[in-house]
Symmetry: D2
Subunit: 447 residues, 4 copies
């Protein structure tokens, strides 16, 4: 079992009294300040290994609870905060921005909050009007719309020096960076550069990954909304497939390295027959491959629905996927498994002279740009306010996260080390197999 | 002004009393039977031409009101009805089927109703289990789902002889055919063949065209649902465009020969900047073309949304579009204007070295397979029951339609003569120009 | 057959050239100006009466087409427009306001537009900040939310003198009044007072009636949205009823004097068994009354859904309903038929010792405050722009309306004379009877 | 810190091999059987108390993981399972039923599954047709509709002897009981009676509580759907309030003893100003009471939204609430706080001569009968299959539950001991205070 160092960096000892009035005792029906030594254990499994002599849950690592501190590091009058959203769209971005702004303004009395437009690229002065003043009036209704009012874009995070120059010019001392794996790696470099320059600037990340693939993040915001919208697309595919003779509905959803959206959607929709994800290899033409199973199903039921993650089956398209290069976010470029499968399945049934009608749906942009559903909206709201509590307390290089249903602080360094993926031996994948009735393997030879 | 012969063919004089009990007088608070001489005038404009001496509205043509007749042609005990859905999916198909079945069963006491599966192709015995017995239990909840429970497919309608052979084998004497232009042309041929063989089989059409392009059909069922769903896709495109620097959202919607969905969606969504439809030619590269307008808009507003009908701009792709051939429904095959525009716009901005981010959304299958919204569901329900009233009264080669808010009978022959298109001089298109702020023309030289 | 004088009053001859550039000829692919002599016939029935010698459709009355005129009455630089929303909420109010403001601003170049807050009551200076400056930025996103950004309230319209005093003080010369029957009666009085004072102020009404009960208005805006939301409430009632032993779901919807919402919802939802509307009397306890039918249905099917308009069955509660008085809008006060039925049905089954579980749902506020669905949003947009075209052309005492699918001008005087109600002998009510399977009468003795 | 005995009762040692093929080793990419000694720790806080010498998390109690066992207790050929839903409706009931039936049928090969209709009352033979045979075809589409296809009702659970008689007559050996606190107390009595009679019948509960008030159940199914629907009602109230001068929107939601729905909805909707829940007392007329705060807010903002749990403020209505008695589920009867507040607020402002317009919305039935959103649907699906795994393994008197994101077995005895309530000192309630800006207390004197 691996130990994690979940201690989070700090700019210094917080010495100022928080303007937020809370209690210090339990029993007065008033919420209490949270202290750094209130922690949450991460590892909750209790099996043979944990039953052994000398085992301590705390040894594996405990995470600091997030929340308002009694003492804060920054004088609110001197705070100049910056907020930015990076990478692809995700439901809830505006909810997080709204919450950050409102908590800074209403709870701490901060009056200088700047939105950096279009992600890291807004720092370089190359885009017109790239700084946007934020206050509660500006953000009042933004949670009702999708997208990001700040704008977002990929890349730019590698220009660490330029960014810190810009931060200095803008005189910012708190930075709230909403973004995914690549963005947070960039945030870490920025924070390191800040430290090297001897500056006192808090860098707080809010993890954004519609794919749910960040480690130690129980549930990424926007994920449930994504599943709702993906389920609607699967419903369309099901109706198209069901209404045609030998109809096949093929839906591609987000999931570059992890198949969580596909897995959850398959269980939630009850309409999917085959789920293809990056974590589980599959073959097309072999006797136990997808085509053989599809043929048998069409013969028996005359329709089928396939749900594929964008990162699935890359090996089928490219012997060496590294040759495709990376995008501006530093993500490996992917071949388009959706159109690839559409064309290969069509060709296969044509060659077999079996009538078939395939409808391909790619709902990605409709999913990403959607307004957050209430549970996501609430989650975003709480992530945003906890990020501000962390920043005001002088934490840095820190993400806010949810672990075992508690909001916690997580060192960015730990979060970006590994990816969260669907374990084929997990109960989640077992339940996907159960819900779909698909074969546990669609390869001939075990790996 | 053109005159229309709106008289509808009939199998013979209806002599049997209807099992439906209604009134024959007005004033007793009981609905009355409808008689053939209750008609609706089609032409409602009253301008200089109509003010002239001797002008009569009725000369242009009046349409028979649909509804239950006092005398019917068929003995319900002897009716063997067939129902089928043809062509692409459209919201409301199941609502129409449900209504046809329930009206036959509950209102007239008909007990033998067959669903022909997968459109005309279900007649040929080449598909397993292609006949499906229908009754109120089977159809009770089908309006809650999209698609067609009967299944649908393109083509087959040209095999007139085989179809009539099959109809004879199945011993059907009423046929309810739900489908579009090509389908109804096929229905007319079938009805003619039936007549030539001296058979007494009513052929009633329910016009289905998600594009709203059938003449004399005020509003095609499923159209409003399509606009609702298309508006959602435009909203996604707007959020994507708005959240990116120089973001362009491009949405392709149905509309092979008419741009009604695009026009209505543009006004309803309030988010579209350019609407491209088959009826209005446009250029790409000329000084007054789309690219020039896009450049100016991005410079001024940094984002733009384009909505394109699938049939728009075919001349830009193919000097001679007839060379593409036709699909199984007899429709001219179209080049894909969506991906064409996506690629050309991207190439243009790249060559001009203007940063730009384009997101392309094709929501067609999500739109078509959607459940009908309540107003459509109600409309379908009324179309279906009026179709049955027509069939039971012995009408044939007849469509049910809505004209000036009244349900009427329309000869199929008249309906398939011309297409309904967006008139660029209409108030509809004027309102699109107003709502979008787009230029009235994007060509250099007036045609 | 009644003749109507559909001629609309005017402030004088429009002599100024419109700033809107349109065409005057057909065939150049550019929309044309609309002239006053382009009219629409109202009466489209063509039966025995209309076939008689000498009958002319135009004799019954034709309505002027709405739309932009070539010549306008007001110099846009001098226009000071006021907009207000009166009475209960209705989906689409903000869409109309948005369209009025945008058409005035973008099409005509008007720069002074005032929102009068909280309906007529905003005129009296008794409410703080009751005037709100409007421009395209203020209204840009208001169609995305329900309610009225201007605020609305009942009453005040009877203080004609005070209102005209206020209009004079505010220096307004165009008034756009969005409201129902009572509001438009008030608007007429205001316009008369304006005329008596010799002022040149255009008073244009946009008819708002979620009940769809204004005469000569084919479809009131917000109505389709109301049916969508009412259908959702009926669905809930159906599930509650269906999930209980002898479950009864009872839903009350809007409809003070007309049962259109109930009738459309019943057909659209497919889940209603009994529809009770103001136009069709019913009894409770008589052998053919509601209770007897309910008992039989529960015995047979164990569940039932009842949909009742708020104005139905008033005679059952009050021998003399006039005694209840009127509300601030001048509407007759109604007894609460929903809770009345709930209590009486419960008491009846208790006395009969039949187990029964009734769930009562009143979704009125959820319906009224909803955002408009796209078809309504589009309709509102077109109503608003046509209202402005009418105002700029110097029309007054005029409503914009839709008749036979054309936007027309309608004299307020004509519109407020009678109410639009559900005719029990119409095809609409016949289709309700068909869809629900309810008895045509639930009274013992024909009236 | 309290210790819990989370050990679950069992009918005997499972000795038969499961028909489900899984793996026993990790690393073969095949999911593994779950064994009884795989457990989950419940208590995850790690503060001063837990840091003390000798503290062990496992001492507080660990819960058995749910999931398929290698050995099962029942021979699938001999299983006769019964399924029932009890109490008020809750989104997801049909999803659970569907999953139970499908897992029994497809995974274990059980072929005799009976639905007991209308909860415990279906056992007594007093209702016609109270047993309904279930199989995958019957349940295939039931997740698409709300309510319970089995029907549900309150009460009956106290007739323990009659129920066990009936179970014996029906020859059932597995019972899946979906219901809340009262239902599960009944289930425990039934299981005890079964044990006393020496029968081998597994009694498995699936906890259903839309209020989220069952202890040790991290998230009750249907809860998120309830929040989505409640948020819609709050939105309506907000629009009504915002569109009126001094408008007050008042919404009552479910929550008899706990205010979770209200708390989550308040944070998610961003539109609520005052949240009233059973856990936090409040006064009306005192200087720091609700009325005083309302007055100040209306003066400042002219509108307000109040969200109240049905169980809040009972002390304001009744000095002694025990006098109201209990309903058939054994729940304490509550006074109607919604209409009480409506009337009192109205009277207060009238007496103070402050104009005010209050709109009251009670969306309870619309919420309860709603179809589950995808995340709930997925959760229900997994609860259902884990319930079956527990039953087949011979567990009894056991609930399936989610604890720290793992599905676990929970003894019914433990679950029904205490209620889950909103802790006023929790971060949840702190975030409600933050999101609404409401005062932390609306009483004069701290308790």
């Amino acid at each position: 079992m691996i130990q994690f160092d979940f201690a989070v960096p700090s700019l210094g000892t917080p010495k100022l009294s928080s303007p937020i009035t809370l209690s210090k005792v339990y029993g007065d029906s008033i919420a209490n300040y949270v202290s750094d030594d209130e922690q949450i254990i991460y590892h909750v499994n209790y099996g043979p290994e944990e039953r052994q002599e000398g085992f301590k849950f705390s040894d594996i690592g405990t995470l600091q609870k997030a929340g308002p501190r009694e003492k804060i590091y920054f004088n609110p009058d001197h705070v100049r905060a910056g907020v930015l959203t990076c990478g692809g769209l995700c439901p809830g971005l505006n909810d997080v921005v709204r919450s950050v702004v409102r908590t800074l303004w209403h709870r701490y009395g901060v009056r200088t909050i700047s939105g950096i437009r279009y992600g890291y690229n807004g720092f370089f002065g190359e885009i017109h009007n790239s700084i946007m003043e934020l206050n509660p009036d500006v953000v009042d209704d933004i949670h009702r719309i999708g997208g990001s009012v700040l704008g977002s874009s990929r890349g730019g995070g590698e220009r660490t020096g330029d960014i810190v120059d810009s931060i200095e010019r803008l005189n910012l001392n708190q930075l709230y960076i909403i973004g995914g794996d690549g963005t947070q790696k960039g945030a870490l470099k920025i924070a390191n550069e800040i430290q090297e320059r001897g500056l006192k600037i808090a860098v707080i990340g809010v993890p954004k990954t519609i794919d749910n693939d960040l480690s130690f993040i129980e549930k990424s915001f926007g994920f449930e909304t994504a599943v709702v919208k993906a389920t609607e697309a699967v419903y369309a595919a099901h109706q198209e497939a069901h209404s045609a003779y030998n109809g096949i509905g093929l839906v591609k959803v987000m999931g570059r390295e992890s198949g969580f959206i596909a897995a959850h959607t398959a269980i939630a929709s009850h309409d999917v027959n085959y789920v293809l994800i990056p974590e589980v290899p599959f073959e097309l033409k072999s006797p136990n491959g997808l085509f053989a199973h599809l043929e048998r199903r069409l013969e028996k039921r005359q329709h089928a629905v396939i749900l594929v993650s964008e990162g699935a089956g890359q090996d089928l398209m490219h012997a060496d996927t590294t040759s495709l290069g990376t995008d501006a976010s530093g993500n490996k470029k992917l071949g388009d498994i959706g159109t690839f499968l559409r064309d290969r399945i069509t060709a296969h049934f044509r060659s077999r002279k079996i009538p078939m009608s395939l409808k391909y749906i790619d709902p990605s942009y409709i999913i990403r740009s959607s307004t957050a559903i209430p549970s996501d909206s609430m989650y975003c709201s709480r992530l945003g306010s906890n990020a501000v509590h962390a920043g005001m307390a002088g934490k840095t290089k820190t993400l806010v996260s949810l672990v075992n249903n508690h909001f916690v602080h997580l060192p960015i360094e730990v979060a970006v080390q590994t990816r969260n993926t669907v374990d084929p031996e997990s109960s989640l994948w077992r339940d996907v197999i159960d819900a779909t009735g698909m074969p546990m393997k669609m390869t001939n030879t075990p790996e």
